[in-house]
Amino acid sequence: MGAVAGVGLVGPSLLAACGSDDKKTGGNGGAASKSLWFENWPAYIDEETVDLFKQASDLEFRYTESYNDNNEYFAKVQSDLAAGRSIGPDIIAPTYWLTARLINLGWVQEIPFDKIPNAKNLVPQLQNPGWDPDGKFSLPWQSGMTGIAYNIKTTGRELKSMADLFDPAFKGKIGMLTEMRDTVGLVMLLTGEDPATATMDTAEAAFAKIQGAKDSGQVRQFTGNDYMDDLAGGGFAACIGWSGDIGQLALDNPDLRFVIPEEGGMSWSDTMVLPNGTEHVANAAIWMNYVYDPENAARIAEYVGYNSPVAGVQEIFAAGDDFQKALAESPLLFPDAETTARLKVFASLDEDTEAAFDERFSSIVGA
């Protein structure tokens, strides 16, 4: 969440217009078109892979990083998708729950798996996932874990439980994520509930706990990606964070730690989907096949530090240089079976339940 998409007094129909300004530059389609546009989250690929793909594929590949926030992106593209118009990018990278919403709304196309032989490398636990039960509409980009990130210089001790985030000693030094499923999911685990089967009833204790921490000033801020600055700068003693971020930050600052709480952690995936109206499906397949090649997947994983959905990456690291060998051993990139067993994926919520969750969470976050 680097930038703020500030739209105050604009009607929904005008909001929609913001999403379509690049539409015409995407190339003019047709089977022979060489163009392909992937809109991804910031800092989610190494530049080398983009260049190598351009050389290998001979496509006019456009890679943008304007995908900053799931909700804001959805608000931006929804009227185009609802009206059956192209939104511009051929591939976008929604997080799993938004992927489920897009599939349910019928706004994404099937992935042409017959043209993606490397899709066989998808790790077994991500085949036919909860958000895409038939595994037809999405292909994971990267997965990651949500847990506790802390700065041991500020906390003065190791943390191991979500209860530590509610320790009065850290009053005003705690950060939580605006990503509802991450924050509510972790606190639900603390209250002894299972986020994988969450309902408004089972989540109520967690909501009340977060509300209390906000009212008392325990929580300094609810953030997106920007929690990293606060953590490194000492503004946060501890916060809810994402595994890959801390892996990268810890290279420069060994005081930063990441732990999956003893109550359990959350697991998530960002996925590649093809929004309706995309004309370059065949080109998208070439890209997906490329990044599902373990060598290419390893190069990406080395840079982003999350959990690659492609099998064989760990073996490539293990055979690589010292840095890669260390990555192969990293519990952040390759969590062991014991850790994986403690990870949960947040329940798929139907439209009304999701609205109720968002509403309740929003009222706590202060808006």
């Binding site: 703020v4 009607g11 929804q78 005003g172 009304d352 968002d358 509403e359």
Partner: protein, 300 residues
């Protein structure tokens, strides 16, 4: 005959000139202000049939307004307190600055005015983020306060909370004051610049001392500038969400934060529209009352 005809035509054409000159502005406002406003009004009285429906159905849904006001009265009140405090601070800081530049500026006038405007060369967002950096826990301000052993005192005053300057009322109000200060200084400067300073000499001839001359002559004559500056500060500050977002915490959200969240996260356009309209209505009434109180007859 022919000459008369020409004269008539010129005169007739002359009658249309004001309309011609006004039309670009009118068309612009009509298209980009009035039309969206009407759409917004319609949306504020509509219901969405489902959460992800793009269009809302117009049903005279007045409950959007009552709900918006009752659910978010806290943020409304907070927005007006923050904006009001920031406006008063801007007057307190900006008036002396404008006075010195206008009256004592001499040949440095333009340079000084330039300095007032310099921060505007960077974007609003960058300026606010810069403030967040300055006020951060490992930033220069807190570091200096720690060295002066003032943190404890400021903590008891509520300026520092939990050892930090960010996520406090003070940080948000400070950010608003900083960001809108030039909008206060410039109009006050203009109104002071126009005052014939011989009037103060006349006041002194009539046995006023310096302070009396200022209070009875300069201050009243500069009120239109204060009025204009207050509007330019208060109105955008009340609807702002950037300062609350980057300098405040979850207990410092303003109504702009709520509108942004309703529009972009909850996709609840009717409530967002109702909130926007309520904000506009309150500001309009406040402005009219303020204009009455200050007497804006001779506003420029």
């Amino acid at each position: 005959m022919a000459a008369d005809d020409d004269g008539d035509r010129t005169k007739r054409r002359g009658r249309w000139v004001p309309f011609g000159l006004l039309s670009p502005g009118m068309i612009w406002l009509g298209l980009f202000f009035l039309l969206p406003l009407v759409t917004l009004a319609r949306t504020s009285l509509s219901v969405k049939e489902s959460r992800f429906a793009v269009d809302a159905k117009f049903t005279w849904e007045w409950s959007n307004f009552t709900n918006a006001i009752s659910d978010y009265s806290e943020q409304f009140v907070r927005s007006f307190i923050y904006a009001g405090t920031a406006t008063l601070l801007c007057i307190a800081i900006g008036y002396p600055v404008a006075y010195v530049i206008a009256v004592r500026g001499g040949r440095y006038k333009n340079a000084l005015l330039g300095l007032v405007v310099v921060p505007f060369f960077t974007s609003f967002l960058i300026r606010t983020l810069a403030w967040a950096t300055v006020l951060a826990d490992n930033g220069p301000v807190l570091g200096m306060l720690e060295r002066l052993h003032l943190v404890g005192t400021l903590d008891s005053l509520g300026i520092v909370q939990n050892g930090g300057l960010l996520s406090t009322h003070v940080a948000v109000i400070g950010g608003l004051t900083y960001n809108f200060l030039p909008f206060m200084i410039l109009p006050i400067y203009v109104s002071l610049e126009k005052i014939d300073l011989r009037l103060t000499e006349a006041a002194k001839d009539l046995y006023n001392n310096g302070w009396q001359a200022f209070r009875r002559v300069v201050l009243p004559l500069s009120l239109p500038g204060v009025f204009a500056g207050s509007l330019l500060t208060f109105i955008p500050a009340a609807g702002d969400f950037v300062n609350a977002r980057f300098l405040g915490g979850p207990n410092n959200t303003m109504i702009g934060t709520v509108v942004q969240d309703r529009f972009l996260v909850q996709l609840d356009y009717p409530t967002a529209a109702a909130l926007s309209f309520t904000l506009m209505a309150i500001i309009t009434v406040a402005t009219l009352v303020y204009a009455r109180l200050l007497g804006t007859d001779d506003l420029v």
